[in-house]
Symmetry: C2
Subunit: 341 residues, 2 copies
């Protein structure tokens, strides 16, 4: 591998495809700080994610896909606030890797950065502790949103409808594919690659988040599973919800590859979907559906906000019980934690 951190930064990170200039970024890589200026009237939205080999991604993962994924999961937090991406920073704790790893990792980052006009502006590069080296990636994204217009978790009101974008559970199923846990046969095998792709290349819902400004009353991105993340909205808003299980959006690949009895628990608890879950008054439903259809984002109304705290499930309008919990990093081994790579 390359032997000089400044050389690594110059060759793989401080290059035009990744560390490009844009309005609002006054100074990028190469000084003690980056300088960022949101437009007048805008505030800066920021979110950080720390990902580690063996926890969030499998050792031996394709570095291009890893680069894409790490930036996409961060952009998902901007989407959930209705913020427009501005730039990101990268902290990389690097286990020994060949030069080609860095080349592909930064190319994956660059593809997502370019698609979102969101350049790399700074960060830190270290060689991980040699005897316990696990590659660690810390990304912080920065976006801008008009003051007062950010979509919080706390705005859901009784009577609001609950929506999700895209489909649920594909990434959790894809993780099973990547771990070799999904036994398929015959025609089902055609679905394995799309499911694995769903894990590595989560959808970008940034445009959807922008379209929801002024429409959604609360929003979150689904990283730990619908149960956990909708739960955050309910808790922050001091409300509850009833979710109609038959309305959960499931892909054909998911339906084909996951046993019937497992589909609903995995769809609501599996995590890593990076779809948006949001609430809005019923009166805005038509406008929201039209706005997301115009940008080709699939949308499904899955339930309704209620005054009574807690999350309730229904099937064909009848209450049902469903055992499912979101991922929690500190659950003791052997407990009934949802899986995570």
């Amino acid at each position: 591998m390359a032997t000089d951190e400044f050389d690594i930064i110059r060759r793989h990170f401080n290059r035009a495809e990744l560390a490009f200039t844009r309005a609002g970024v006054a100074l990028g890589i190469g000084d003690d700080c980056a300088l960022v200026a949101p437009q007048p009237g805008m505030v800066l939205a920021m979110s950080m994610d720390l990902l580690q080999e063996g926890v969030h991604f499998l050792p031996g993962s394709d570095p291009y896909l890893l680069g894409q994924r790490t930036l996409l999961v961060n952009l998902s937090d901007l989407a959930a606030m209705g913020a427009e991406p501005l730039c990101f920073t990268l902290g990389l704790g690097l286990a020994p890797q060949p030069d080609s790893w860095l080349e592909r990792f930064s190319a994956g980052l660059a593809a997502v950065a370019a698609a979102h006009d969101c350049p790399l502006v700074g960060g830190d590069l270290i060689a991980s502790e040699p005897h316990r080296a696990a590659t660690t990636v810390c990304i912080q994204v920065h976006g801008q949103v008009p003051a007062g217009a950010a979509i919080r978790r706390s705005g859901a009101k009784e009577g609001d409808l609950v929506f999700v974008t895209g489909t649920l559970g594909d990434a959790a199923a894809g993780l099973r594919v990547l771990k070799g846990q999904l036994q398929g046969a015959g025609d089902d095998l055609q679905y394995h690659q799309p499911l694995a792709d769903a894990f590595f290349v989560p959808p970008s819902r940034v445009a959807a988040g922008l379209a929801l400004r002024g429409q959604a009353t609360a929003a979150i991105d689904i990283s730990d599973g619908l149960v956990s993340d909708l739960g955050h909205i309910l808790q922050a808003s001091g409300v509850g919800a009833a979710i109609a299980l038959e309305q959960l959006p499931l892909s054909p690949a998911f339906r084909a590859c996951i046993d019937d009895t497992e589909q609903l628990p995995l769809a609501v608890a599996g995590g890593d979907d990076y779809e948006l879950c949001f609430t809005a008054p019923a009166a805005r439903r038509d406008a929201i559906e039209a706005a997301l259809a115009a940008i080709d984002v699939p949308l499904r109304c899955i339930g309704r906000i209620e005054q009574q705290p807690g999350l309730r499930w229904t099937l064909q309008n009848k209450p049902v019980l469903l055992k499912a919990e979101g991922y929690n990093h500190f659950r003791p081994a052997g407990s009934d934690n949802a899986e995570k790579s």
Copy 2:
């Protein structure tokens, strides 16, 4: 240890001593993003540092000192730009630790955060990969600086004087103390603790950075050693420098504990000082000395910027050679790298 990440965040991080409110922070911990608004006419300065157990700090380090240190070394980057601290984010990859570790770590963070009116506003908490767990701390600090007023590395001009704050080499000597590498005897032992303190509790030069706005032409904080960091100013500014070795500020503790022949190489290459190195026209020397004296920051003029690129050493006005290089994370083992914890 605690078994719920949200519970850990609530008890140890999202508490009034650490995640307090202040002007400019519109939204802190608890949503998809934090929202930060620099004052009108100000831009946001941001800097990230990734620190790992076994690379940047010794296993078994006092978590209170570690918390202080990780935030102080980041604030040092704001100081070097002349930026006023606003807030910070924290990514924590946690190896198994007792609850008391988290309590003391967050107390160390809180002490520095309060002293700089710089609250924690968000971040990410993960359990490190269990078989290769090394605690990893990623901090990003955010400050504000009037547009156009940030002190860059690139503004040094021929004839400018070169200054450093505080003393050099104490942290490098302190690291030797912590590693048990410093053999002392008799009266010298009294100096070991102050040197170790210099490593763990680097000085805050934030006030000095603010005082240097409009005065310094270039600045950097000394993290990898004077040779390396002054080298960045010289390279960015397209100039060179002559440094008078007899002017290097060395503490009594450093002089007492480090062999005479090692003092100069260690002082210029040892790293971890987190003092400011800056340049300014000679005409501003008196004003700068008065400004820093007013806030009790020791200051020393150590040389002069020259047109000819490169770094030259003098001793009593005669050119001398000094073999010293700053720390580089990717130097192969066995090469002549400066030490780092």
